[in-house]
């Protein structure tokens, strides 16, 4: 065991990211897919913060990006859930495999 540093945090964020990706790819429920997306966003946030901390500690760009991403994530989640609920209302299902009316 060694002192935790940038590599450790990057490992966590990578793991979280691909966990989210896997969830996004394998879940059929739209809400759980949304959750996976939140995981992905969080892993990105973690990256930003870690880089800000370890590589450019004198600046705040990573921090601000994180802030904005959180804000946008909130908006995104709200819109996504609105869409999901609307979809549920119209087709009584939020299975992603059924939501394919707009193909071709």
């Amino acid at each position: 065991m060694m002192e935790p540093g940038l590599y450790h945090i990057l490992f966590i964020s990578t793991a979280l990211f691909f966990t989210g990706v896997l969830g996004f790819l394998t879940r059929r429920n739209l809400i759980t897919m949304l959750m996976s997306i939140e995981l992905i966003l969080n892993s990105v946030n973690l990256n930003f913060i870690a880089f800000n901390k370890y590589i450019w500690p004198g600046r705040m760009d990573g921090l601000f990006f994180t802030l904005f991403i959180i804000a946008i994530a909130a908006a995104e989640a709200a819109v996504a859930i609105a869409i999901i609920i609307n979809l549920y209302r119209s087709s009584q299902s939020i299975d992603v495999n059924n939501a394919e009316d707009l193909k071709y």
Binding site: V21, L25, V96, A99, E100, D101, K103, Y104
Partner: protein, 647 residues
Amino acid sequence: MPNATNIALIPLLPLAGFILLGLFGRKYIKNGAGLIGTALLLGSALLALYTAYDYFFVYGKVDGVYQQFVPLKITWLAFSKELSIDMGLVIDPISVMMLLVVTFVSLMVHIYSLGYMKGEERFPTYYAFLGLFTFSMLGLVLASNIFQMYIFWELVGVSSFLLIGFYYDKPSAVAASKKAFIVTRFADLGFLVGILILSYFSGSFDFQTLIARLTSPESNEVKNAVASTFLGASALTWGAALIFIGGAGKSAMFPLHIWLPDAMEGPTPVSALIHAATMVVAGVYLVARLFPVFSVTTPAVLEIIGWVGAVSAIIAAVIACTQTDIKRVLAYSTMSQIGYMMFALGVSSYGGEAGLGYTASMFHLFTHAMFKALLFLGAGAVIHYVHSNEMKDMGGLRKKLPITHFTFLVACLAIAGVPPFAGFFSKEEILLAAYNSNTAIYWIALITSGLTAFYMFRLYFTIFWNKAQGEHSAAANKHGEGGLVMMLPLVLLAVGAAGAGFIPFGEFVSTDGKALESHFHLSFSLAPVALGLAGILAALWMYAKANDKPARLAASLGGLYKAAYHKFYIDELYLFITKKVLFNLVGRPAAWFDRNIVDGLMNLTGNSTVLVSEGIKKFQSGKVQQYAIFFLGAVVLLAVLFIYVWR
């Protein structure tokens, strides 16, 4: 000097008639159409007569030689400085002679039709077509340019087509008109290619230039042409032979004659004009027009012409003996007589005494026009009276139709070569010419002349004698012989048929323009006249009274009779070639190939595009996660590629 305006007016007057009657005839002129057409043609005929007088007796002869004049030449279509299609008028002995024949016979037919076609629904159209035909025929005769001749040649063909198909609601008439057009068209293809070959080597379409360049063996043109050979014959021989094919098609020479008997579906006066007196001799005229080329440069082709003519003459004569439709008998007789004219040209050579065949051929053309037109018009009068073409519906008509009977007899005597009628003189010269140069052809001609007399009198006796009077249907007798307008042409033509032989033809028409003495040998004439009389007597014996001799004779001849009756199955052969070979083996596969292979390839291109896009469409499934997997996979793949492979 020839007067260009007068001569140009000869063909233009009938053309005016065609335009006038064609455009306004149906609505505004109607019954006056016949008179207008006839009047215009009368003007034309008078001008032709004047021109002939003027040419033969006033200015045509210079130093004892009839000259060729080209009073008018307009460039119609120029291909290059040298090569152009001109519209010109040529005045020389044969063209003037043809002018006379065409205008005279056409005038007779015009007058005759006033009675014969009276009451027809398309009376004005009929006269319009007659005008078109006369115009085209005169244009052909006067052509100074080989392409001009081809143009009018085609126009003549189409007017013949229109007139044969005049009764357009009769399927047989339509079929006959199509057949006539297509067969002659096929022959015209040969003519066209022949023109192209000759004009390529001579560098001109103009008759005068072309003949001048191709008849001097030392000229470069001839040397070039002889140098280039194809299948063992020189290009020039091919060209001349192809041109003759054109002539043979129009003149119904064996084996391109099959259209002529069917062409009898047209109104009878039309048959008289087109398919007896004028258009069918266009082939003879063409050979005569290019005679110097044929005789000087390509004697081999001339020999072919002679044999084709002789074979046609005898085959047609044999077939004519067996036919029962009177117009068909006359049609085969026409073919046979044109065969005479052809082989007369074929046995002739250029210049002086040796050119007797040429003179004889033209002479026969002239006399034949008279008596054959007369025969047809007479037959028309009979048909008009009986309302049938079949011999078995006729008989004993000599009292009912006295004038017709008399004129028909004159014509029969003329064609049978009985002196002193016209046919005797011209046929005599032909036989003499043949005797002098080709004995085999002479014998064929001699036998043919006997056959001619036989089948003509077979016709004559069956129509006018044979049965007792009144045996044919009473319904037919409503109108009498057909009035003055129908009888006048018969009489005038009978005068021609009886007297035309006394014209000293050699004085006017010969290969080189110099006068040719016609020699008359009593001893030579004996054989053909005797044969002719024998033919007549045989016909008298068999057909003067109704009996079973013809049937027994036919039975004893067996296969020969049957073959002749079926026209030696040539029609069937053609039908086989066109229907079975051309349609089924060429046309149908071509159409199938186009629909299925060529178009199939196009559709294949289209369909494969559709198939590919159907395949690609699968990717666009609407399944978000599938997209995401592809996306991720592609990102990873690209990342690997960019990082490790393409670094």
